[in-house]
Amino acid sequence: MMGFMMWMAGSTVHLFSIGITISALWQPISALQGVSKVFEPYQDGRTDILLPKLAYIAMNVAGLLLGLWKLNTLGLLPTHASDWVSSLPPPQMVEFSGGGIPL
């Protein structure tokens, strides 16, 4: 579902694609935060929940990666040199020179 929504949103930065991407990132993160809560009802000491828990985490991490990939296609991840130098101030001059046509 989320993948479909992402595909629909396209790869240009606008309100819709940003909303989709935020939710695509937020959902796995909130799910990961609440892992213990999700598995609380099954924690009775008899069933081994480690494997399902790991599977759940892996799925959510995959979702998160999908969200990050979407973020990257939108061009919002600082992975290029241009992201780091775009506001680099001009260099200082060592020498000074003046003059021109005499007054």
């Binding site: 939108l74 600082p78 040199a81 241009s82 130098v85 775009s86 680099l88 020498e95 000074f96």
Partner: protein
């Protein structure tokens, strides 16, 4: 922060990064919804909101009054800026014609009672219709001499019942019909006698005769008599000058001739009419006036029987007896006086006005005297002039008839600062600062900070007015305003008192415009409405006792207080020369920009060839300056021990260069030894010699030292980076094929070329060189950031072209890894030295441009983030703003999606000129000479001041006003909306409570 991100979007077009930005972006989008729609051009009702326009005419050299007949009373003037103007006598309003740079006006007269006739460039005679200034006829004469006279005859030559004109000059006398400008006859005086050179003419109307007087060789005086109706030479007489009389000057006074010898010690005089032979009489000047102090000069009064000799300090009026030619002293003055033209009151009576300054420069004594006998004084007024006008130079006298049939007088006076005033009945009727037509240099200064104790003009709004304005604005927003309301609203907007306050504003829109004029006067104009805040006739630049008049040259910001010295006033330095010519010694004057007073001045013993404002400030925030003298030694200012120690730390990195246009050489120097106090010697490091047989320097351009550049990186659509080559020490030089073929149509395409050079001024290295074949000058160039744009004429295409070159530094682009940038280990932030190996990539493109150019400049903004606009002063004396993105060398016919995202336009061969992009909208700035652009405190706007004869000031926003709300933003509407919302919330909350309570009772 938010502002910068937005600007990055608007400028580079590349998407920003980072999770955090998402939030900001969404905020921006919300903001975008409520953002007012920006506009590119100006709406009709915005004219005059933040622009103003003033017209000036220049120093008046000729004036004639037209007070008879119907129509408004006016005075016609011609000026040294080649303007013919008609001024209303009541208010001084003007209508004008500018003749252009080459047409200096020789004479202005009124002919046939209805035409103003001008003689310009020595040969162009034109008649202008008096009420509306339309051209009636135009005649091109043969004379091309510089000393040409136009005489209005009081006789009719060709029997068309109008009196005709006479043009005398270059050995020719030409009679012209004043009705249609037809040439009636020509008399050549060069062939009458061996070496006869006519210098003076005298017209005897009653006898229909013209006398031309002049020297024959160096020992004789000749008089030629010409019949006015036919132009025939009827008589020619000669007279021997006394032995050993070195001739210099000659005057015709009525029917007498007066000549002065070179030493100014003796005068020869005699009458030339009637008799067969001229008898000359020698009179020593000492017999007329004993205290002679040399350096004498003859001045004509064009009056019968009197003339003036002016000495170094004194002026004497000498009377000539018309019968005997005897001379006698009439009056003497021990101070400079100004003498008017003669005014005929009746057939016999002639009047003349004399102006003397009283104890101060400001008060004058104006006397009107009958010239015959020099006895009757018919008017005497003591008049107080406005301050800072200097001595009066010229007077033009005119009379009117009072109700009691007596004569009243009005006088048009030109003062030392080229200002023009009309005096009448002991008062100044109006006064115009026409010196502002000849601006040499312009700068801007900040106004004082607003706080207690600082003078603030009494313009604060009352609450009532403020409310009224907002109610009107609200009405207009809600479309409820009536026609009167719209007019009232416009008046409120135009008279906005905010803009003329004498303090600094938050956005930095209010500035002082400091202007240096040719007359040596400094003006401070308020940028809000252009009124003169103060003016100063710089004392150091005034002439004393007939020494050559000092010439102002340059205006420099000496001190710009901005950090710890905020309480101090900015100081400007005026650089001048004590006389004409480049080798005259220099003079410096420091002027306080708030009080308008000269702080101190200094006369130098050496000429100033160059001024180098160094990037070093002392503890008083004074900028260190170097002055290069004639022997290429440099002199350091200010003369303090602190500045010397500051300079000594840096002197090994200080260089300068000198462009010699005549020899086609550019030389680079460096500072070497400290010779004496504040004087350093220099050494020639390099020189670039252009081949004189194929290249002549046409123009040079450098980067503005105040220019601020935000970043050195240019991010492309594909997220690659180009590093701009931001060397400040470069000069762009263009050379063209030598020869006088600068006019279009005179040069063949194959003999014309243009070579453009980019030269490093530290090492003299030619960084780039390109040749354009088949093109010719004049070349105009502007260099900014990492690009240069130049304008020239293409002879093959028969069109003007603009070429853009952008320079990118490949050596900085070597580090590619993101990680290196993240941890800050890259070479892009290393200081730049010209001694490193340059690796420059040049991108270039040329476009056709339909207009020729007088001046080019570029907009400046506070942080250099906003995209730039090219300001082009067109040949029609308007200023055109052209976006730099039209001149992007990366434009291609089919830009890719990435390039489109970046904002690159598809390639076209020409550049578009939209009528809306004329920043001067409907105004014309006659004789456009300069365009000054300075930043405001806000980033988006750029303040532009353009000057020629006329002045124009406006505010531009090259990337639209993205960082502020528009002036029209209705705060009242916003406030009302918020109040309504709060009330609605309150009411609905109370209502829902009641509803809940009622439900619970059920």
């Amino acid at each position: 922060m938010r502002m910068q991100i937005m600007m990055r979007l608007s400028r580079d077009g590349a998407p920003a990064f980072g999770l955090l930005l998402l939030l900001v972006l969404s905020m921006l989008m919300l903001l975008g919804c409520i953002w007012p729609q920006p506009c590119n051009a100006l709406y009709e009702d915005q004219v005059g909101m933040w622009d103003w326009y003033q017209q000036y005419i220049g120093k008046v050299t000729h004036a004639v009054f037209q007070t008879q007949g119907t129509g408004r009373k006016r005075v016609l003037v011609a000026t040294d800026e080649n303007v013919i103007a008609s001024l209303n006598l009541r208010k001084g309003e003007i209508r004008e014609h500018a003749l252009g740079e080459t047409e200096s006006i020789n004479a202005l007269e009124i002919a046939a009672g209805k035409y103003a006739v001008t003689l310009s460039a020595g040969c162009n005679l034109r008649a202008w219709n008096l009420p509306d200034g339309t051209l009636i006829w135009e005649t091109h004469l043969q004379t091309a001499a510089s000393a040409v006279k136009l005489l209005i005859l009081s006789t009719d030559i060709n029997n068309d019942r109008t009196n005709d004109l006479l043009v005398v000059g270059g050995g020719l006398v030409q009679a012209i019909s004043s009705v249609d400008g037809r040439l009636l006859w020509t008399a050549d005086l060069a062939d009458v006698g061996g070496g006869f050179l006519p210098q003076e003419t005298s017209v005897a109307d009653k006898e229909h005769k013209l006398y031309a007087l002049g020297f024959v060789g160096s020992s004789k005086l000749g008089v030629a008599e010409i019949d006015l109706s036919t132009g025939a030479k009827t008589q020619y007489k000669e007279a021997e000058l006394p032995e050993g009389f070195p001739i210099s000057d000659l005057l015709a006074v009525g029917e007498s001739v007066v000549a002065l010898d070179l030493a100014g010690s003796s005068i020869v005089s005699g009458t030339f009419t009637g008799k067969e032979k001229i008898t000359l009489e020698l009179t020593p000047v000492s017999s007329i006036y004993h205290d002679v102090s040399g350096n004498a000069q003859l001045l004509s009064l064009k009056a019968r029987g009197v003339f003036v000799i002016s000495f170094k300090d004194e002026v004497i009026v000498v009377g000539v007896d018309s019968e005997t030619g005897k001379l006698d002293l009439v009056e003497k003055f021990n101070q400079p006086i100004a003498i008017s033209n003669t005014l005929a009151l009746s057939d016999e009576k002639q009047a003349i006005a004399l102006v003397q300054h009283m104890d101060s420069d400001q008060t004058i004594l104006l006397r009107v005297i009958i010239t015959d006998g020099w006895k009757d004084e018919i008017a005497k007024d003591v008049i107080k002039l406005e301050p800072q006008r200097g001595l009066l130079q010229t007077i033009f006298l005119n009379s009117y008839t009072r109700t009691d049939k007596s004569h009243g007088f009005r006088a048009l006076v030109v003062a030392e600062d080229d200002s023009l005033s009309l005096l009448q009945q002991g008062e100044v009727v109006w006064s115009r600062e026409d010196g502002l037509a000849s601006i040499l240099d312009a700068r801007m200064a900040e106004l004082p900070l607003e706080r207690a104790g600082v003078s603030v003009a009494q313009v604060e709004h009352s609450l009532e007015e403020w409310l009224k304005g907002h109610v009107l604005r609200l009405k207009s927003t809600l479309m409820l305003a009536s026609a009167e309301d719209v007019v009232a609203l416009q008046a409120v907007r135009l008279k906005n008192a905010e803009k003329t306050k004498m303090t600094r504003d938050h956005n930095g829109f209010r500035k002082l415009i400091i202007l240096l004029t040719k007359s040596g006067k400094l003006f401070a104009l308020h940028s809000g409405d252009g009124h003169v805040v103060w003016s100063l006739l710089i004392p150091a630049l005034r002439s004393e006792h007939r020494t050559p008049k000092p010439e102002p040259v340059k205006l420099l910001p000496w001190r710009k207080p901005h950090q710890h010295a905020l309480d101090d006033s900015p100081v400007f330095l005026v650089v001048g020369r004590l006389g004409p010519g480049p080798n005259a010694p220099g003079v410096l004057s420091w002027v306080d920009a708030y009080s308008g007073r000269e702080l101190h001045s200094l006369k130098l013993t050496y000429p100033i060839k160059q001024v180098l404002p160094l990037p070093i400030l002392d503890s008083l925030e004074q900028r260190l300056h170097l002055f290069v003298d004639g022997e290429t030694n440099v002199h350091l200012f200010p003369n303090t021990a602190e500045s010397l120690s500051l300079f000594n730390n840096q002197s090994q990195n200080v260089y300068f260069y000198d462009v010699n246009k005549d020899e086609g050489v550019i030389k680079g120097f460096r500072i070497t030894d400290h010779i004496e106090d504040f004087v350093f010697s220099t050494r020639l490091l390099w020189s670039v010699v252009f081949p004189s047989d194929s290249e002549a320097i046409a123009t040079t351009a450098t980067r503005n030292s105040d220019e601020v550049v935000h970043t050195q990186a240019k991010v492309l659509g594909d997220r690659n980076v180009l590093f701009k080559y931001l060397n400040k020490n470069i000069v762009f030089v263009t050379t063209v094929a030598p020869g006088p073929s600068s006019k279009v149509g005179l040069a063949a395409p194959e003999d014309s070329w243009l070579v453009a050079y980019l030269i490093d001024t530290i090492t003299g290295q030619v960084l780039h060189r390109v040749t354009h074949q088949d093109v010719q000058g004049p070349v105009h160039a502007v260099l900014s950031e990492n690009w240069v744009i130049y304008h020239y004429f293409n002879l093959r295409a028969h069109r003007y072209e603009l070429t853009v070159m952008e320079f990118y530094d490949n050596s900085r682009a070597e580090t590619k890894g993101v990680l290196q940038y993240i941890i800050g280990r890259h070479n892009a932030s290393a200081p730049f030295s010209s001694y490193t190996y340059p690796n420059i990539d040049v991108k270039s493109q040329s476009y056709f441009f339909t207009s020729s150019v007088k001046k080019m400049a570029v907009t400046m903004t506070a942080r250099g983030i906003t995209s730039r606009q090219l300001l082009i002063g067109t040949n029609c004396d308007q200023v055109l703003a052209l976006d730099k993105r039209f001149l992007d060398p990366r434009r291609s016919i089919n830009p890719t999606a990435m390039e489109r995202e970046e904002g690159i336009l598809p390639l076209t061969d020409g550049l578009p000129i939209y009528p809306q992009s004329y920043v001067t909208h409907s105004y014309r700035l006659e004789g456009l000479r300069g365009i000054l652009s300075v930043p405001a405190r806000l980033e988006s706007p750029s303040l532009v001041f353009a000057y020629g004869l006329d002045l124009f000031y406006t505010r531009l926003a090259p990337s639209r006003t993205y960082d502020s709300l528009t002036e029209d933003f209705s705060y009242a509407l916003l406030l009302i909306t918020m109040i309504v919302l709060v009330v609605a919330i309150g009411v609905s909350w109370v209502m829902s409570k009641r509803k809940e309570l009622a439900d619970k009772w059920k």
